[in-house]
């Protein structure tokens, strides 16, 4: 049988009455969707190549372009939807493992949307953030400290190193290689302005960005790309990546096409070869082994930097977190299954792991039950989409939240999910110089600062409404949440009451 025809997912609609043949669409589309017919001189499109990144639509000066879901579909079947059929045909054709990017688009439940926030009425007045101080500053790190006095009777500072955040949001790990130089610069500059941190991901740190060190979290992953003394010393904190929400249980895989000279140098691997991170750290098979790596990092950095351990939200994450909290780590980051990625096997992304809401609540509960919650701070990630998601995460027990996808969207990402191709038209998930320069780091930083500043204002307003004037007083305050449309089991895991139930 010859190759199976797979209809295009999208159709590019061009309104000829509006098109002024400026050619911008041809120039802007790295996928090669738009072209001029050599014979007729007319503008035409190859729908098959369209990934729906919306770049042409956004840049078209006369708004002559629209992208629509293709009308050419398979026979209607609720069980065998178009995407499933496409995937099956592709695999029959190639024998390959399906590869996707960004977070899962599947319609699995989002518990944030079933949690509602409390507000004060009559008996305990709300606080007006316009006129009262409203504290969103917080610290991440181990909070247990022995009271030790020196010979003069003065208290010695025995507190473990802390990360100070002016907002309860950090930028999640996204590696140089999977995203562009300009993305890292935008994140670094925004983190500096906002008084928070960005995370290098596992691809090392470009030497140009060492100057942002005090706002940088560096990652040590199984591939150990770019990890050496200066890298650890430059950073404000070191994150050991054990897992990622989009692909729990497997390692990273950056296609060779994205390993340019600069990326190769930062990662220390040959140009053009695939950058493979093993699934596990091959020196970590137990909590004791993890403790060893935590202390290797601490020894290398003179115990001056908090060590974060990042895990994917999986079935047993509460017990795992309990182990991590005893390993010497200062912070645990939990990444939910809706979290994004530059490339992950589709089946793993869409089927492995659990939602961040349930994972976070169960981890916080477990650590409190065991009396070790203060051993660590918690960062929640894995699709935090808005200020209310942040607020609810804090009320469920998080100290702060990682945002990755949301940050990329502020930089122009339209969630087309074709990051692995390396042809990102928005200059984000690409290393092609002509595409990278489409993202201006100054403009990028400004947009990120705008986003987080706006979220912070909203958080302050909601906190004020609850009569809470410090984000740290909201942490784990689950009485501020009520559930709707949730089962008894879900409510029990989340530790919240149903809407309408009072104390």
């Amino acid at each position: 049988m010859k190759e199976m025809y797979i209809p295009p997912k999208y159709e590019v609609l061009r309104d000829q009455s509006k098109c002024v043949s400026c050619g911008l669409c041809v120039k802007e589309c790295a996928e090669g969707v738009h072209f001029v017919d050599a014979k007729t001189g007319k503008y035409r499109t190859d729908d098959q190549k369209c990934v729906y990144c919306h770049r042409c639509v956004c840049v078209c000066p006369t708004h002559a372009l629209q992208i629509a879901r293709s009308r050419d579909t398979y026979p209607e079947n609720a069980n065998w939807d178009g995407q499933t059929v496409n995937e099956l045909y592709r695999q029959a054709q190639t024998g390959g493992v399906l590869l996707s990017s960004m977070g899962s688009p599947k319609p699995l439940p989002v518990f944030w949307d079933r949690l509602l926030v409390n507000a004060s009425q009559v008996t305990n007045p709300s606080i007006d953030p316009l006129r009262e101080p409203m504290e969103t500053r917080l610290f991440l790190g181990r909070r247990t400290a022995e009271a030790v006095r020196d010979e003069n009777g003065l208290l010695k500072d025995t507190l473990a190193p802390q990360l100070e955040l002016k907002v309860p949001v950090l930028f999640a790990a996204m590696s140089y290689g999977s995203v562009s130089y300009n993305v890292h610069e935008s994140l670094a500059r925004a983190a500096e302005t906002l008084g928070t941190y960005y995370n290098t991901g596992e691809g090392g740190l470009h030497e140009d960005f060492y100057k942002y060190g005090k706002n940088t979290i560096v990652q040590v992953a199984s591939g150990r790309f770019g990890v050496f003394r200066d890298y650890l010393e430059t950073a404000a904190a070191v994150e050991i990546k054990m897992g990622q929400g989009a692909k729990p249980g497997i390692g990273g895989h950056l296609p060779g096409a994205k390993i340019t000279e600069d990326v190769a140098e930062t990662r220390m691997i040959p140009v053009g070869t695939d950058a493979i991170s093993p699934a596990p750290h091959h020196d970590i098979y137990s909590i004791e082994d993890l403790r060893q790596l935590v202390y290797t990092v601490k020894e290398a950095t003179d115990y001056k930097k908090p060590v974060i351990v990042k895990i994917a939200a999986v079935h047993n994450c509460a017990a795992i977190a309990s182990g991590i909290a005893r390993s010497g780590a200062d912070v645990i980051a939990i990444d939910g299954y809706r979290g994004g990625t530059g490339a992950a096997p589709t089946r793993i992304r869409d089927n492995v792991g659990i939602p961040i809401e349930l994972a976070l609540a169960s981890v916080d509960t477990r650590l409190r039950e065991e009396g070790i919650r203060d051993n660590v701070s918690l960062i929640a990630g894995g699709s935090i989409r808005s200020s209310s998601d942040v607020l609810k995460a804090v009320a469920l027990g998080a100290d702060a939240c990682y945002i990755g996808t949301a940050a990329l969207m502020a930089l122009g990402c339209h969630l087309c999910g074709a990051c692995q191709s390396g042809r990102c038209n928005w200059g984000i998930a690409t290393q092609r110089p002509d595409l990278v320069k489409r993202l201006d780091p100054e403009e990028g930083a400004r947009r990120l600062v705008n986003l987080v500043t706006a979220w912070n204002l909203e958080i302050q307003e909601m906190m004020g409404g609850m009569g809470i004037n410090s984000i740290e007083a909201l942490r784990g305050n689950r009485l501020m949440l009520r559930g709707v449309g949730l089962t008894d089991t879900e409510l029990k895991i989340l530790g919240v009451r149903y809407a309408g139930q009072s104390l």
Partner: protein, 241 residues
């Protein structure tokens, strides 16, 4: 001047603090017994260790010479960046994990997972020379650098264990052996070579000099050279969705 530290009964934190803060360039640690993280991230020192250091010796090492009269444990030279480590004994598991530079010379055997994910770029080219045998998973995910296994063991067992070079996508492994190891993954290309190339020969000569062996014997032997069989061994596995 040499600083001498008697490590008997000393915890790792205290020992490492003494090493780090020593004004002397040369340090001699005596009666070492299982202290972890010695020389972690250190540079510009010469450290001699008498005894058995604990795990993660010379992790992130950034340019020291570390010599051990005794065996070493797991995660030795983890993510080492520069320097030289000489072990007059055997090494445990995950030796030289993700090494980025420098050289490790082991007189005896190494455990499992040695040299996993070693890297190289331009002038930074790490190397591990193992006098005895290597356990399974040697050079897994190797992305650069050189591993030489001399296979000196006094018995007929193969020089390396199973799954040597699985996921290898750069660098090279030299095995002094008459026959290929079992279960060599399909992504690894093996060729019998008549003589070691200059770089590997120099490493073998250094190893011989450190451990008082005659280089001639090792240079004249039969070797297999293992390299990745294509630049992108896993590319075909994927179908873009």
């Amino acid at each position: 001047m040499e600083k001498i530290i008697d490590a008997a009964g000393m915890g790792f934190a205290e020992l490492n603090r003494l090493v780090k803060t020593a004004a002397e360039k040369k340090i001699r640690i005596e009666r070492c017994l299982g202290q972890r993280y010695i020389a972690c991230g250190l540079k510009d020192k010469e450290i001699f260790i008498d005894g058995t250091p604990g795990n993660a010796l010379a992790a992130y090492l950034d340019g020291c010479r570390v010599e051990v009269a005794g065996s070493v444990q797991d995660a030795t030279g983890d993510t080492m960046n520069a320097g030289t480590l000489i072990v007059h004994g055997s090494a445990g598991d995950a030796t030289g994990y993700a090494m980025r530079g420098g050289k490790i010379f082991i007189e005896g055997n190494v455990g499992y997972r040695c040299g996993i994910h070693m890297k190289a770029f331009k002038e930074n080219k790490p190397a591990i020379v193992i006098g005895g045998r290597a356990g399974s998973f040697l050079g897994e995910y190797q992305a650069g650098g050189v591993i030489v296994v001399l296979g000196e063991s006094g018995d007929e067992k193969p020089a390396v264990g199973n799954f040597c070079g699985t996921g290898m996508h750069g660098g090279e492994i030299y095995l002094r052996s008459e026959r290929l190891p079992a279960l060599l993954p399909p992504q690894v290309r093996a060729e019998k070579i008549a003589a070691l190339p200059d770089g590997a020969a120099e490493l073998v000569k250094s190893w011989c000099a450190f451990f008082g062996r005659k280089a001639e014997k090792y240079l004249r032997s039969a070797y297999f050279r293992l390299t990745p069989d294509s630049a992108n061994p896993y590319k075909r596995l994927y179908t873009v969705n």
